[in-house]
Amino acid sequence: MIWNEEAECRAAEEKEELQLKRLQEVVKRAYENVSYYKKAFDEVGVSPEDIQALNDIEKLPFTSKTDLRDAYPFGMFAVSPDDIVEVHTTSGTTGKPTVSGYTQNDLDLWGEVMARSLTMAGGDRTDRIQNCYGYGLFTGGLGVHYGAQKIGATVIPISAGNTMRQVEIMQDFGSSILTCTPSYAMYLAEVLEEQGVGPDKLNLKAGVFGAEMWTEEMREEIEKRLKLSALNIYGLTEIIGPGVAQECYKKDGLHIFDDHFYPEIIDPESLKALPHGSKGELVLTTLTREGMPVIRFRTRDITTLRPGKCECGRTLVKMDRITGRSDDMLKIRGVIVFPSQIERALLKIEGLHPQYQIIVSRPHQLDELEVQVEASPVLFSDEVKHVEGVKRNIEEHIHDEIGLRVNVSLVEPQSLPRSEGKAVRVIDKRNL
């Protein structure tokens, strides 16, 4: 089922025409009503009239998380605060949060894109949606809530936490769609298993999982344990909340609702726009938001865009599963590498503690990647050739994951730095 066939299956030219019209409108609205944008556009000498084609968007400056934070609390609003009917914020773990303000039309838009998402996951009015995303300032709970009501499903607004109650309600109410973070879905599966509640005693058919990065391996695991179809949802509070993009049953990328959120991919270093199919940082522009339009927001999420018609019938551009954050991205000999890929490779080797450090250097014009791994008793032997074999095995696993040759050094246990919270994983000696 497709919630809004007209919008989700538009022909390319027709869609581009609509996107351009909406882009011109939002740029004008932002310039005229938000002092931040007026100043930012004036500084680079661009005005709303310069947007004559879609790729003219590249003339506009980017908006970063810091820009939004500096405008705390209401500096980014493009309407009178009296016209704002709801606010949400980011968690603000790294400073002041970012505030997102919604007009009534913005809430309707949010309901619309979430209705499309839930329908894409197979939901309709017969479903009972157990919504374990947190209700409150966090966008997850209410976003799903508005969409669920729009499609006429029964929403169970249980919010996050209280796992015993979640498990009980899931059985008693016969919840058919589960919405939560993928890690919470894993945890629920564990608790259900501990209590001896097999998937046959549940009525789950689909899960709409998001708000954190996850992998295909996790998908397989969740699907196997909960006997449901696990689908990826993507969104950001800065843009609207959940409902920016959603996976269809093909599970081959997430459809971005690009009639409302215009996506671009840029090289996070040169900040140049990249053609479709290239891997880079996702940049989003809200085409229709009233309360708080956001122009060229740097999401820091790394993905690839793939346009075209999907088997499901939608022509909404697809983005790949998020594979990393541009903040931790490394470019080695032109290849994008994330510490998480190296960690994944290490986790595949039995007996290895994934304590590692990546050292990037450029000794002779060419980048070299050294991965230091802490030795463990399982990997060690009295024989040199055995230890060398272990080292080569780790090198091969990493090569399979990132496509680059690396040099692995085994170091003594507890010798790599551990800091409170985020471990220091990367040392870049290249002075780029």
């Binding site: 030795a375 463990s376 008793p377 990997l379 060690f380 032997s381 009295d382 024989e383 040199v384 050739k385 230890v387 060398e388 080292k391 050094s409 085994l410 170091v411 003594e412 246990p413 507890q414 010798s415």
Partner: protein
Amino acid sequence: MFKMKLKQISVFLENRKGRLQKALEVLGNANVNIRTLSIADTSEFGILRMIVPDIDQVQSILEEHNFVVKVNDVIAVGVPDEPGGLEKILGILNRADINVEYLYAFAEKKVEQAIVVLRTENIDAGIKALTEGGASVLSSDEVYEL
């Protein structure tokens, strides 16, 4: 037969200045009596191999200090301290088609003989060949008592 096997403890050494010294300092502070040791060195790491009477104690001391260790069996052979002694031993193993992974030796003044520590891929096969070939395979007690 198992009594003829000698326990060896190996320690992983990162290729960094002072690591061997650190390991020996830890053992020295604990008054560990090291009968003999050898070091296998590559450009990237080292393996310190030791024969010590109280292997369990040494293992726990080293592990407490975050060293990676491994205990395994080796063979000790008494070799007359004279030219050609070692060659004879290797000849026996060669004829039995047994590969020596590594070996190291230490001289023992008290008994006028050298002790050769040998690592063959299959320890039992190594001991069998050596015994049958007339070599003097030493038990662990004999080595510790020297």
